[in-house]
Symmetry: C2
Subunit: 345 residues, 2 copies
C-alpha cells in the first residue's frame, strides 16, 4: 500500500510499504477513508534529522473496518469507524478514569509495528477499546467533522474541560489553528460567555467568531497582553487555553491569566523548562494544566451534536489533497495557506 | 517598641522602633501575644544582601487589639485576634472568591508603612477584613494552634484544597517542615486514606504519622522516587504536595506524581524556571497548582476543630524564645534543631 513517511525536515514522501496485517487477535485493519495533517506534524517537519528509513506519519483518520482479529467484538468488517490519536484498551484503570493517553496497554500511531494514518490502511491494536463505529456512509458530508473527533476537536475540548470552563469563567484562547478554533467551540459548549481569541488570520478568526469567540485580539507579545487586559478590566481571564506550543504562546498565557486562574495547554510544548516561579505562576496562584488529549474519552460526548449538525467542527478543513500529494498538503499548512488539510487515499 | 529586623544573610537583630499608630480609619493596632519564625523567613536569612536599614520580619502573629480606627466594626480593643499572613479587605471580588492573597486593596506584612509580626505590636490595615476575633484568653493553651491559622496550617490546607484531595486520592507530601506536616493533617481531614510523607527527621515524621501519614519515605532523589513508586504499584500518587520550595523537591514531585495527577506547591519557589514540557508535566497530563495560601479564607473552616481540640496543629512548635532572643530562634530553625519556633514579645 501507499503510506506517508517523513525522511527529514521538509522531506515528506509517499512510499510503497507492505499492507498491514492482523498480528494480534485484538487487532483490526482499517482502510482509511480520510486522514489529515496535524499542526503537531509540522514540528518534526521543521526539525527532524535526515533518516534513510523515515518515520511513518499521521495520527488522525476515519475509515472502514476491513478485517478483525478473533477477539474483536465491538466492530466488524464494513463498519465506518473513528480512530482517536492514541490506541487504548478501554478497560484499564487509566482508561476508566478517562485518561486513555496513559492506558497501561495503549500507545500511539507510528510506533514500532503500528503505522500512521496518512496511508491507505492501518493496523489498529486493541480495536475494541480504540475504535468507535458510527452509522454513516463513507460518502457522508459529515466525514470531515467526524474526523476532527480523532484529535483536534477532542483536543480543544480537553483544554476546556481541564480548565473547568463554565458559564462563570472568562476564556482566552491563544492560537487560531484548528485546535484553538475548536477550543473556542468547546468553551462555548461548556457555557463560557466571554471568549477572547488571539490570532492574526482573519479567515480563521472569523471562523472562531462563528464558533463563539466574542472578541478577537490580533496583537501579540506585550501589545496582545495589554489588549486582553484592557478587555477584562485589567485582570485577564479566568482561563487561558494555549493551543500553540511555543514559548511565546506560554509567555502570552502567563501575561493574560487572571489571579487564581488556569492555563490549559494543548499545544505540544516545544520547550522543556518554562517560568513557573513566584513572578509567573506561584504568586498569583495560577494553575497550569493540560496535556495530550484522551480523544477517545470525549467521542461519545461530542458525537451527537456532530451527527445532528448542531456543530460543524469539520469547517476547520479548508483543503483536501490526494494521498500522493500529501507533501503539498504539508507545505500548504506550513506556509499557512491552509488551516488544516484533509488527505484522501 | 522592639521589632525584629534582618540586616543581611544570617544577621537578625531586634531594634527599637517607633510604636505603630493608627493611620487610616480602617486600621487596628494589635499587641502581639505570640509570633513565630517561618520556613520562608529562612530564604532571605540565607541570601539577603547586607542593608543598613534592614527589613522588618515576621508575618504570623496572634495578639490583642489595643486600638481601632473609626471605621473598624468587627473587632474592638481587648479582642484576641488571629492575623493571617496577608491583609485584605474581605469584600473585593478576589476576597469573595477566597483568594485573599490577591485582594485588590490588600498586601503583605513588612511592606512600606506596615511592620512585621516578630515585634511587640503591629499596625493592621483593613482590620475588618483581616483579623478574626476568637473568644480565648491570651494565656490559653490553644494559642500555638491558633497561631498556625495565620499561615502554616492554612498553607498546608490550601495545598490539599487546590489539589482536590478526597477519599479517592492518594497523596505524597514532600517536606517534613511545619507546612508539610500540616498538609498531612489537612489531607487527612479531607479524607485521604493513603498519605506518604517524604522526610528524614524522625521526630518530625513521627508527628506526621500522628497527623495521618500512613507511610514515611526518608530517601531523597532517585531513591526516594523509586520508594514512592514501589509503595504505589509503580504509578505514584494522585496528589503530590510540595512544601519545600527548592528545585530538588520539584523534581521529586514530578518523579512521584501519577499520570493525570496534581502537583500542589506551597513551598515558596526558590527558582523561576522549571521543567514543564512533554517529558515532565505535559505528556502525562500533570496539573501544577498552588501558591501563597489565602490563609484568611480558611480560618473559619479550620477554627472549630482547633477550639474543640479535635486537632492540635500547634504541636509543630517545639521551641519558644523571647523576642530579644529571636536570633537564636532563627539559628535553631536554620540548623534544624527546631521544627518551628514561637516568639514571645
Amino acid at each position: 500500500m501507499r503510506a506517508t513517511y517523513l525522511y527529514g525536515a521538509g522531506d515528506v514522501r509517499v512510499a510503497d510499504v507492505p499492507d498491514p496485517i492482523i498480528k494480534e487477535p485484538t487487532d483490526a485493519i482499517v482502510r482509511v477513508v480520510r486522514a489529515c495533517v496535524c499542526g503537531s506534524d509540522l514540528h518534526p517537519y521543521h526539525s527532524m534529522a535526515a533518516s534513510a528509513d523515515g518515520s511513518s506519519m499521521g495520527h488522525e483518520f476515519v475509515g472502514v473496518v476491513e478485517e478483525t482479529g478473533g477477539a474483536v467484538t465491538t466492530v466488524k468488517p464494513g463498519d465506518f469507524v473513528i480512530a482517536p490519536f492514541a490506541w487504548s484498551d478501554g478497560t484499564c484503570e487509566f482508561c476508566r478514569e478517562g485518561l486513555h493517553t496513559s492506558c497501561r496497554y495503549g500507545g500511539f500511531w507510528n510506533s514500532p509495528g503500528v503505522g500512521g494514518g496518512q496511508a491507505e490502511a492501518v493496523r489498529v491494536p486493541l480495536a475494541d477499546g480504540t475504535l468507535v463505529a458510527v452509522p454513516v456512509e463513507e460518502t457522508s458530508p459529515l466525514i470531515p467533522s467526524l474526523l476532527t473527533l480523532s484529535d483536534v476537536y477532542g483536543t480543544g475540548y480537553h483544554a476546556a474541560v481541564k480548565a473547568n470552563v463554565s458559564p462563570r469563567t472568562t476564556v482566552t484562547v491563544i492560537g487560531d489553528g484548528a485546535v484553538g478554533l475548536l477550543a473556542v467551540l468547546s468553551a462555548k459548549q461548556l457555557g463560557a460567555e466571554r471568549i477572547i481569541l488571539m490570532g492574526r488570520h482573519t479567515v480563521r478568526t472569523d471562523l472562531g467568531r462563528a464558533y463563539g469567540a466574542t472578541d478577537v485580539v490580533a496583537e501579540r507579545g506585550p501589545e496582545g497582553i495589554a489588549k486582553v487586559r484592557e478587555l477584562t478590566g485589567g485582570d485577564g481571564t479566568h482561563v487561558v487555553i494555549e493551543a500553540v506550543g511555543h514559548m511565546p504562546a506560554y509567555e502570552q498565557a502567563v501575561g493574560v491569566v487572571r489571579p487564581g486562574g488556569v492555563i490549559s495547554r494543548v499545544g505540544v510544548p516545544q520547550y522543556e523548562a518554562a517560568p513557573v516561579g513566584f513572578a509567573s505562576l506561584f504568586g498569583p496562584n495560577i494553575t497550569l494544566t493540560g496535556g495530550p488529549a484522551p480523544a477517545r474519552a470525549y467521542i461519545e460526548t461530542l458525537l451527537p451534536a456532530v451527527l445532528d449538525g448542531t456543530v460543524n467542527p469539520g469547517k476547520v478543513f479548508d483543503r483536501e489533497v490526494a494521498l500522493d500529494d500529501v507533501a503539498a498538503g504539508y507545505r500548504a499548512m506550513d506556509e499557512r495557506e491552509a488551516l488544516k488539510v484533509l488527505v484522501r487515499p
